[in-house]
């Protein structure tokens, strides 16, 4: 800790009465972070379900498909509630704009939640098995897109700690999605069938932990908001919960008792949620303090001038 501090001295900068330069991201709690969580859960559950479909594991596939469908629709509801004019939600699907991650994301969400609902509906009712299977396999493609587009959504802004963290956030969200989907399927499926879900949870927890570690260390001054204040507390809580949950998931398959699985699932879910809330708050903090806008931009200007002077 103290070494980092020594490496990043308190930056000198000027501002207009300490006021923020950019606007606060409007996204609310709990809507936005819960949406990020649900999108990840839906996407990775679909991936798990598609894997089951291809390897003939029906009893693990069913709960994964249901989780994908429920999380997809619940996520959409949170997203609509977040709008200033919810009744105009469909304006999102008025155009397809590749330059807008929210436009691209709305289409991904529409495809993912629609296909996941068809796949789950068919699995539950037994109707139209061929259609259900095709939809389920298609969510194997839309699912990972659903889980990771949200990293682009938050980073494609002027919010300094999000924009600079776009690489790490993509993997943080991917890992978090795998962990949360593994967690739900692990307890929803019969204990003996849950092997792939457990392994998915372990891999996800590892990826999430490494990505958040990098995020909190490698962005220079822009890592600070991920370590400080309430965002820092949430990120640290996420770390502990995810590592604990991952370790429990790894051993849960060795016993016949369900308790370790249940504890693991609870810890992983809480860890994933904490990470999403932490990322939102870190972005907010980096938008609110003009330091995070001015100092990196000043460094950029200085570097350019050095280059020019150096020929």
């Amino acid at each position: 800790m103290s070494r980092e501090r020594a490496m990043v001295p308190d930056a000198e900068f000027r501002s207009y009465y300490g006021q923020p330069i950019i606007k606060d991201p409007l996204w609310h709690e709990p809507h936005m972070p819960v949406y990020l969580y649900l999108g990840g859960l839906s996407g990775a559950s679909s991936l798990l379900a598609a894997g089951c479909e291809l390897t003939g594991r029906d009893r693990l596939a069913a709960p994964a498909k249901i989780a994908a469908a429920v999380a997809g629709s619940a996520g959409a509801a949170f997203l609509v509630a977040e709008l200033g004019r919810p009744e105009r939600f469909l304006n999102m699907l008025r155009v397809f704009k590749p330059t807008s991650p929210m436009s691209v994301g709305s289409w991904i969400l529409a495809a993912q939640s629609g296909l996941a609902a068809v796949a789950a509906g068919s699995a539950v009712t037994g109707l139209l098995p061929a259609v259900g299977r095709a939809a389920g396999l298609a969510t194997g493609v839309t699912g990972p897109m659903m889980a990771t587009y949200t990293a682009v959504l938050v980073s494609d802004t002027a919010v300094p700690s999000w924009h600079a963290g776009h690489r790490e956030l993509a993997f943080l969200f991917a890992g978090s999605a795998l962990a949360s989907a593994g967690a739900v399927a692990m307890v929803a499926a019969p204990h003996r069938e849950a092997g792939p879900a457990r392994r998915m949870a372990v891999i996800g927890a590892a990826v999430e932990t490494v990505a958040s570690e990098v995020l909190e260390r490698r962005l220079g001054i822009l890592s600070e908001p991920y370590r400080e204040g309430s965002a820092g507390r949430l990120m640290r809580a996420a770390r502990v919960l995810t590592v604990t949950g991952g370790a429990l998931a790894a051993v849960s398959g060795l016993t016949r008792w369900r308790t370790p699985s249940v504890l693991s699932a609870a810890a992983l879910t809480a860890g994933s949620l904490c990470a999403r809330f932490g990322v939102l708050r870190a972005g907010r903090a980096s938008a609110a303090d003009p330091k995070y806008t001015v100092v990196p931009q000043r460094e950029r200007v200085a570097a350019r001038e050095r280059n020019r002077a150096g020929g």
């Binding site: 207009y16 894997g51 939600f89 919010v159 069938e193 879900a197």
Partner: protein
């Protein structure tokens, strides 16, 4: 497409009268933005927002730099590469025939994405109305061949309106005059077409560093890095599929 128009705001002659703020409100029917005594300076609107489309900044600089008052009327920059426009998912934000950026209030669904996308913190959402608002560069007046209300009202010609090319020439001349007169700290802001937003349609002559006026020193349109962001998200998505494959590959089938 008509000629690109814009503003050149020469802050060296701004007297802080706020006629621009008032004219903008009157013409565009912009609602009340609160009566706040900020206790920092004569600034009482604080910054640009959904209901403040022109904002006069007051910098009371009584430090070792000398006793001086800096005043500057800020506005939407009508960026060449406008992040707000790029990220708007509904197409509510569009580029007009004058190369200005305008929100169509009947289409905006208040997603709020444009708000944190703007590198200058200009556009914002009105919470009672749920939609995003900002300066339109008086789109209605331009279509009738009139100049925007703020420029019309400015008593010192600090706010100059006109074809962008002409304004750039005028600004270069003004800068040279000031430099000759010994005002070494005078500088232009946002006039270069090769900056991070491709140049501003509304640019400034400042007497100190931009951040002192609450402006970002080196703004970049966020979508410049969008291809790289999608690449990383794509890599993460593929890794998820690989992780899933790994989860099934190991262990007994049942």
């Amino acid at each position: 497409m008509s000629e690109r128009v814009g503003f050149f705001t020469d802050t060296s002659v701004c007297i802080g009268c706020k006629a621009c703020e008032v004219a903008c409100k009157e013409w565009n029917d912009v609602p009340d933005d609160g009566f706040v005594f900020r206790a920092t300076s004569y600034d009482n609107t604080g910054g640009l927002g959904a209901s403040t489309w022109r904002h006069v900044a007051f910098i009371e600089d009584f430090t070792e730099r000398g006793d001086r008052w800096l005043m500057s009327s800020d506005v939407c920059k009508h960026c060449t590469h406008a992040a707000c426009l790029d990220v708007c998912p509904t197409g509510a934000l569009f580029r007009t025939e004058f190369d200005t950026i305008v929100v169509q209030a009947d289409i905006c669904n208040g997603c709020g994405y444009c708000v944190p996308a703007c590198p200058y913190g200009v556009i914002d959402r009105r919470e009672d109305d749920g939609r995003a608002w900002k300066c339109t560069l008086c789109y209605d007046r331009l279509r009738d061949g009139l100049e925007p209300a703020c420029a019309k009202a400015c008593p010192t010609d600090s706010i100059q309106f006109g074809p962008l090319e002409e304004l750039r020439e005028r600004a270069a001349e003004r800068l040279a005059t000031l430099h000759e007169a010994g005002v070494a700290e005078a500088r232009l802001y946002g006039e270069r077409p090769d900056d991070g937003v491709g140049g501003d349609g509304a640019f400034f002559l400042l007497l100190d560093e931009p951040e002192v006026y609450g402006l970002p020193p080196d703004p970049v349109v966020t979508t410049r890095d969008l291809p790289s962001m999608w690449l990383w998200a794509g890599a993460a998505a593929v890794s998820m599929a690989a992780a899933c494959f790994g989860a099934f590959a190991r262990g007994p089938r049942r």
